[in-house]
């Protein structure tokens, strides 16, 4: 970790492009966070039908710097708020997918098909508990909340009976454990196979198509879209984390850690994870750039994102109705490109130092 930090510090000193890219990204994030407090002349959804397709103009007291679109909405405000939308969607989603991918990938790589052993009784009891958790913990409370908003006692009873079921199941497990030897037998869960099959299923259709189809089943809201993106984006990072874990598992220092009896958790957290940080950082920035592009593509197509949300894609889509309004494409498009490029440059340099260190 220290080494990675030092490398980045050295890059910062030596490469101008890296410094520029990082500065741009920092400024971009700052802008997106502070935007609601900035004194802007127009808000992104202010409609002004007197000024439709106004060309960009710098002077004047109430001019639109970047022009206006088909409804007279200010392109400047839309570009800035589009940046905010892009970062507010892609950053949390990228962080969450990195975490989920890391957990699932390292689990698959570390345990393999035979490393994860549990007793029969545990498997049976956890499956039953999971069914009850979904029914009493999710299905009943959600349904009750939707159907009978004033009747909260049903939700309390549901959660209480869930706890009761858990206690009964725990007692049952103890009883079975003591009475029957059959339940003692350990089973190896093929964690690796399970996770690989899930990844293969989720990637069997191109991501854009999968998300478009899923988005048509759901109401277009930002949280829904974030969930959809998170559920489909983790596969790449999980694959990478799994491959890195498999590589590290075969290294001599890891073997010796195992042989001197280091615990499993210490092996993963102290010895494996720090060595995976570099590749993970790269896949994180890569996912971030990909999500930025993806978000604007979806809003350009007008699917999955509410129409009232200002975004680059929404502004750019206006050009399909009036090809002469070049400013609709030029300004948001430039911002999108610059952001993606800055991430790409950062990525490129970090990848270069990691490869250099390997040699």
């Amino acid at each position: 970790m220290q080494a990675l930090y030092n490398d980045i510090k050295q890059l910062w000193r030596q490469k101008i492009a890296f410094r520029v890219a990082l500065c741009y990204l920092a400024g971009f994030t700052l802008l997106a966070v502070l935007l609601p407090w900035l004194p802007l002349r127009y808000m992104p959804n202010d409609i002004n039908l007197d000024k439709v397709y106004a060309a960009p103009c710098m002077g004047g007291s109430n001019s639109n710097w970047f022009g206006t679109d088909a409804l007279g909405r200010d392109v400047f405000a839309n570009t800035l708020f589009g940046a905010r939308t892009a970062i507010l969607i892609s950053f949390p989603v990228a962080s969450f997918t990195a975490l989920l991918g890391l957990v699932l990938g390292t689990t698959a790589g570390f345990f393999g098909d035979s490393g994860f052993k549990t007793k029969r009784v545990h498997v049976i009891v956890s499956v039953i508990a999971a069914v009850f958790l979904v029914y009493l913990g999710l299905y009943v409370p959600i349904k009750a909340r939707v159907l009978l908003p004033s009747n909260t006692s049903l939700i309390y009873y549901s959660v209480a009976s869930l706890i009761l079921v858990f206690v009964v199941l725990w007692g049952l497990a103890r009883l079975l454990w003591v009475r029957f030897a059959w339940f003692h037998k350990p089973i190896a869960l093929p964690v690796d196979q399970i996770i690989l099959r899930i990844i293969e299923t989720l990637t069997s259709v191109p991501r854009l198509i999968f998300i478009l189809v899923l988005a048509s089943f759901l109401p277009p809201t930002v949280p829904m879209l974030a969930i959809l993106l998170a559920l489909t984006y983790w596969t790449g990072i999980a694959r990478l984390a799994r491959a890195e874990m498999l590589k590290i598992k075969n290294l001599p220092y890891f073997e010796s850690a195992r042989s001197i009896g280091v615990t499993q958790s210490a092996m993963v957290f102290r010895h494996a994870l720090p060595n995976m940080l570099g590749p993970l950082l790269i896949s994180f920035t890569f996912a971030l750039a990909s999500l930025l592009t993806f978000e604007s593509t979806l809003s350009f197509l007008g699917i999955g994102i509410p129409n009232t949300l200002p975004s680059w894609g929404r502004t750019i889509a206006g050009i399909r109705h009036n090809a002469a309004a070049w400013w609709l494409l030029a300004f948001p498009g430039t911002f999108l490109l610059a952001t993606v490029m800055a991430l790409q440059v950062t990525n490129y340099y970090i990848l270069a130092i990691i490869q250099a260190r390997k040699k």
């Binding site: 549901s158 069997s204 478009l212 894609g313 002469a324």
Partner: protein, 458 residues
């Protein structure tokens, strides 16, 4: 080798089945996604003014025709207070009221008695044409709180002097409240439906090649998709061939001794185009080369308006060509950087091998070494690469076809998403996934044919 090949094919088919099942079940299970609202809205314009009973009949007929009256899956796990025929009740407001009542009071027979009494009174009052009383009655529709229901029904009986079935309604309400078992909703019930369910029906027909009918125009889904593929196919094939050829030639140029200056000139450009979002590139090209405001070199939209019949496929292809130039340029430009990079690094790896040095020592020319000795070995990993890169191409086709208004699979997908035409969506997912499985299988097969070492692996 053969065993490995079939194992991978089997895994691919399992993934295909899982994804299709997932999408199918989600399309049927998620709230508000049954697609029936669309049909009823469309029918409303024809049947406006028709009585609610005839609309109910139309709804039932629609459910029977589309198979939506059957349960979704082999079994359902739900609360024991709801009957499994709840979704056939029409109109939707009544269905929702029944569901609320069931969850609140937990005893279905009493709920049904209350509801029939309510409906009977409603019918009588409608015949009497007393809007004031009807409004009073409808207040029962708004809340399921026992403290609201009972006083409301008592008031109704007083106003009506116990006529028109208001006594029955009050009794039913009283019974509903006294016999309530409010926490019955917590009890789960598993119902087994056997093979008479939507999923089973859909799966057996899909295996036989019938993907059902579109919600929008009732046409066969396979017909829609087949027509769309015949257009998309050309774009895919041409852009893939062009990308591969260009990438091979560029990487050969880079790996040559004299190619260093080319490499320095072209690689940064490729690095730049690699991250340009496809829709921005496509719009740029569209505005620069196909709009009357700048250069109009190519036709803007579509695939040609009029295609005379009786032409050979070659003439057809020639007709379509001008419309395809810009879309294909977009797809090639966007995919070229990645493919070229892979080809180049693969070639560069091979160029350090011993047998290349031997070939150089024998005095072979550089071009001959590259084309005859390096290329064949460097191309192995590329077979897999190409099958991986097909999905990216298919995703790109969605964007390209929307922007250039080409009637292909991508446009079909977008239109179906906007119209919530689920049978077509499930069909497109199935076809695209099948396409991927097949391309992987073929690439595995080719890999085995090209590399004798692979054939030894079991």
């Amino acid at each position: 080798m053969v065993a490995l090949l079939f194992k991978r094919l089997f895994h691919g088919l399992v993934a295909l089945w899982l994804i299709a099942t997932l999408v199918f079940l989600l399309s049927r299970l998620l709230p508000g996604s049954s697609g029936s609202e669309n049909i009823l809205l469309a029918n409303d314009t024809f049947y406006t003014g028709s009585s609610s009973s005839s609309r109910e009949l139309a709804y039932r007929a629609y459910l029977r025709r589309t198979g939506l009256d059957k349960p979704t899956f082999y079994f359902t796990i739900g609360t024991s207070v709801e009957p499994d025929t709840l979704h056939t009740i029409y109109p939707e407001a009544d269905r929702l009221l029944l569901q609320k009542l069931a969850w609140q009071f937990g005893s279905w027979p009493d709920v049904v008695k209350f509801f029939t009494a309510y409906k009977a009174l409603h019918q009588n009052l409608t015949q009497l044409q007393e809007p004031k009383l009807l409004a009073h009655l409808q207040s029962l529709h708004r809340s399921v709180d026992p403290d609201v229901l009972l006083p409301a029904s008592q008031r109704l009986r007083k106003i009506l002097n116990g006529q028109h079935g208001s006594v029955e309604l009050e009794q039913a309400t009283r019974k509903l409240i006294t016999k309530q078992q409010p926490y019955n909703a917590l009890l789960p019930q598993i119902r087994w439906h056997g093979s008479q369910n939507q999923y089973h029906q859909w799966l057996t027909e899909a295996v036989q090649g019938n993907l059902g009918n579109s919600y929008r125009d009732s046409g066969a889904v396979t017909g829609h998709i087949g027509q769309a593929i015949s257009t998309t196919w050309w774009i895919l094939l041409l852009s893939m061939t062009l990308t591969t050829l260009l990438a091979v030639e560029l990487s050969i140029l880079f790996v040559r001794k004299r190619g260093a200056k080319w490499r320095r000139a072209i690689l940064p450009f490729l690095f730049f185009t690699d991250r340009i979002p496809l829709f921005i590139l496509a719009l740029l090209l569209l505005i620069l080369f196909a709009s009357p405001d700048f250069l109009q070199l190519f036709p803007v939209y579509g695939m040609g308006t009029y295609i005379p019949t009786g032409q050979t496929w070659l003439q057809n292809a020639l007709n379509m060509l001008p419309f395809m130039v810009l879309p294909i340029i977009c797809l090639v430009l966007v995919n070229l950087p990645y493919v070229t990079n892979q080809f180049y690094s693969s070639l560069a790896d091979v160029s350090e091998a011993d047998y290349i040095r031997t070939a150089k020592a024998k005095g072979l020319s550089e071009g001959k070494i590259i084309r005859q000795h390096m290329l064949r070995n460097a191309l192995f990993p590329i077979i897999t690469l190409l099958s991986d890169f097909l999905p990216t191409l298919v995703a790109g086709v969605v964007v390209i076809e929307t922007i250039f208004a080409i009637p292909g699979v991508g446009r079909l997908l977008i239109e179906s998403v906007l119209a919530r035409d689920y049978p077509v969506l499930v069909g497109v997912v199935l076809v695209v996934a099948l396409f991927k499985v097949m391309s992987h299988f073929i690439s595995d097969l080719l890999y085995g044919l090209a590399d004798p070492r692979i054939r030894q692996i079991t």
